[in-house]
């Protein structure tokens, strides 16, 4: 039971950390200043959430585990983040679509965790859901703006859907450590799909049918991208163990 909770908490921590790291790549490169600030603000929220999850996981693990050791010193195969969040930024369309697909899911997940049987996860969820509400709105607006925008922006959104859709089902496919969790994956998927359909309709975008769905991230089997992210993220602590400033 305790191990499942640790793994599940690490899954939440890794997912929010890796998405934060991906979004942070936009820092200084956003299409306009206000949106550069927006995406990095979202990064900061996600990083804060991941710190809360890591701190909780560290307290469950005990010994000398800390939020830093969990984020900086675990190997690729130990990371349990969703495959979706490690996918490259590519263009603004793919970045905002990735954020949209994730935030819509994250919102309903946090809603459930808030009422779940683990009080600390519930507390973190209660705090995080407020920020996530902003992320949902911001990313939904971008999907509509670009999908229902110019021919070029529409095409790019179609390409992004082509690229990312196959990673969405992983969110609703429980792995071993999720078997005992109180999350209702079926309800989660229904609510998520409902909202995605609504936004896609307004964005004149279509949901792919019968696409092959890729899973694996939650149990440590990642796409080739995660290794590169971690070598950036962990470089300093690997080179100068214990470095502080």
């Amino acid at each position: 039971m305790k191990y499942a909770l640790i793994d599940y908490t690490l899954h939440l921590a890794d997912t929010t950390l890796i998405l934060a790291q991906r979004n942070a790549e936009w820092c200084g490169h956003g299409p306009i200043l206000e949106q550069d600030i927006a995406i990095t603000n979202i990064t900061l929220d996600l990083l804060g959430q991941s710190r809360n999850f890591y701190q909780y996981a560290a307290s469950l693990i005990g010994h000398n585990a800390s939020e830093d050791s969990l984020a900086y010193l675990r190997k690729e195969r130990e990371f349990k983040n969703l495959l979706l969040v490690e996918q490259p930024n590519k263009d603004w369309g793919q970045t905002t679509l990735r954020q949209f697909l994730f935030s819509q899911f994250h919102f309903f997940l946090l809603e459930q965790l808030q009422k779940g049987n683990d009080t600390q996860l519930a507390a973190i969820a209660e705090k995080s859901i407020k920020e996530t509400t902003y992320h949902v709105r911001w990313s939904s607006e971008w999907v509509i703006r670009l999908g229902d925008g110019t021919e070029e922006s529409h095409q790019r959104m179609e390409n992004a859907i082509e690229e990312l859709w196959r990673y969405t089902d992983e969110m609703f496919t429980p792995v071993e450590y999720e078997n005992e969790s109180s999350v209702d994956f079926k309800e989660l998927k229904t609510k998520w799909l409902n909202n995605v359909k609504k936004v896609f309709a307004e964005a004149t975008l279509t949901i792919p049918e019968n696409e092959f769905m890729q899973t694996g991230g939650k149990s440590g089997v990642h796409t080739e991208h995660l290794g590169y992210i971690l070598s950036d993220l962990q470089y300093l602590q690997r080179t100068f163990p214990g470095a502080t400033w």
Binding site: I37, G48, F107, E131, Y134, W138, E141
Partner: protein
């Protein structure tokens, strides 16, 4: 009835009034509504506070400052506890805090029920310009210089300003 614990608590509260948010130095943690409780048992003091945004970089500094201020004033046995639930909300900001924000040039948060929902492409929330008091303003960006702010501009005096957004 006054006992020593309440006197001590009042003293500590006064000291905590000097702990400011490093990002918005006119606001103390009490103005922000971050202070939840002061627990005193013999010479042990526990300060319980609620962080504002999950990723706010000021949180670690605030908790270090609390410790430092109390130690400088002779309280050596201090424990800082951060609690996440109930989650902090801008509704906890004091009226005094809102006044200070406004005179600092940041529009204070509107009551919460107005904007915390998921509807898309809503008209901008009506926010009063902290400089000329005009309501003729528009939102430039939902995200501003820190996690807690949005960026607005006044259409009368033309000044851009920060709005401490509802949370």
């Amino acid at each position: 009835m006054v006992n020593t614990a309440t006197i001590e608590e009042a003293k500590i509260r006064a000291l905590l009034e000097t702990v400011k948010d490093p990002e918005i130095p006119v606001l103390s943690i009490i103005d922000l509504g971050m202070l939840r409780e002061i627990k005193i048992k013999d010479d042990k003091i526990e300060v319980v506070f609620t962080p504002t945004y999950s990723g706010c970089p000021a949180t670690d500094m605030i908790s270090a400052t609390i410790k430092m201020v109390l130690q400088e004033n002779g309280y050596s046995n201090v424990k800082i506890t951060s609690v996440l639930s109930p989650a902090w909300t801008t509704d906890w900001m004091t009226e005094e805090g809102k006044k200070k924000l406004k005179s600092y040039g940041i529009a204070p948060p509107n009551p919460k029920q107005q904007v915390c929902h998921q509807e898309l492409f809503l008209p901008d929330e009506a926010v009063q310009c902290p400089r000329c008091d005009s309501w003729n303003t528009h939102r430039i960006s939902e995200f501003g210089s820190t996690a807690c702010k949005a960026l607005y501009q006044c259409d009368d005096c033309k000044e851009p300003f920060d709005y401490f957004k509802c949370h």
